[in-house]
Symmetry: C2
Subunit: 156 residues, 2 copies
């Protein structure tokens, strides 16, 4: 546990207090949601370990923990799409953080879209297998150019 | 695995296709972010299992899996703060869903606030231990009245 964080002592302290006492899961991770500071749009969902959260707080740039590469991940180090953190929020039970960010270039998703959430699931659909509908077809950048030969982080 | 979902066969299928092929983690869960459909504000972060995702799609109301109670959780069943899902999105690698919801009463957080994210972490703070700042002090409801003797879901 980081020396920068408080120990979790009571529900009241965690929910109603002003001490940062984040809860990391059994793998040492806390989920992190990034939204666009200007529009509020949800851009991505990732994870941080203690080091990533500390570096994000210290530098004001978003660090995550890459589960596919099993290492600290300075978002934008490869693509140039650095996330500047304008506000960093934590939730009621302090087991999730929310980053409100500005991104140089405006794109967050490694596939090339502005947001990672570019497809919609049909509701109240009785089909035998469920389909997705694209809500954004316009890529902000070409991932083949930006990432070149880096493998996709997507795991099957 | 649900019969409603496709198997995950390739990165291209998962990222660029129109087949719903969600990835559940080793505990059988997928993270779920709920935002306010009108304002876009992030309200909460939770988890769904297969059954919760299927019921959400089928009914258009948000179901989660409660890790603290280890059971399916129809959000609002106790508090009355049902989440009506207006849009359900999935991310690039299909390991996170995003619900855009309307809530009767407008509150989502079990502590009584509109959003679970009502505190801000100070950035570039060299303090020995880090503090939080409340960004919302106005509770929408009194949890003692709404939940009565139900224990807090917050785990230390």
């Amino acid at each position: 546990m980081s020396e920068k964080f408080f120990s979790r002592r009571s529900v009241e302290q965690v929910e109603e207090g002003t001490q940062l006492a984040p809860k990391f899961d059994s793998a040492g991770l806390i989920p992190a949601i990034a939204t666009d500071y200007e529009t509020g749009e949800v851009l991505m969902h990732g994870y941080m370990n203690t080091e990533a959260l500390e570096k994000t707080i210290k530098t004001g740039e978003a660090y995550y923990f890459s589960r596919s590469r099993n290492q600290l991940w300075h978002k934008g180090a490869t693509s140039g799409l650095i996330q500047t953190v304008k506000e960093l929020m934590i939730d009621d039970d302090q087991d999730c953080v929310l980053l409100k960010v500005n991104i140089v270039g405006g794109a967050s998703c490694h596939v090339g879209y502005r947001s990672c959430f570019y497809r919609r699931i049909s509701l109240r659909d009785d089909s035998s297998r469920l389909k997705l509908e694209f809500t954004d077809r316009e890529k902000v950048f070409d991932p083949k150019v930006v990432y070149r030969d880096n493998p996709s982080p997507t795991k099957l």
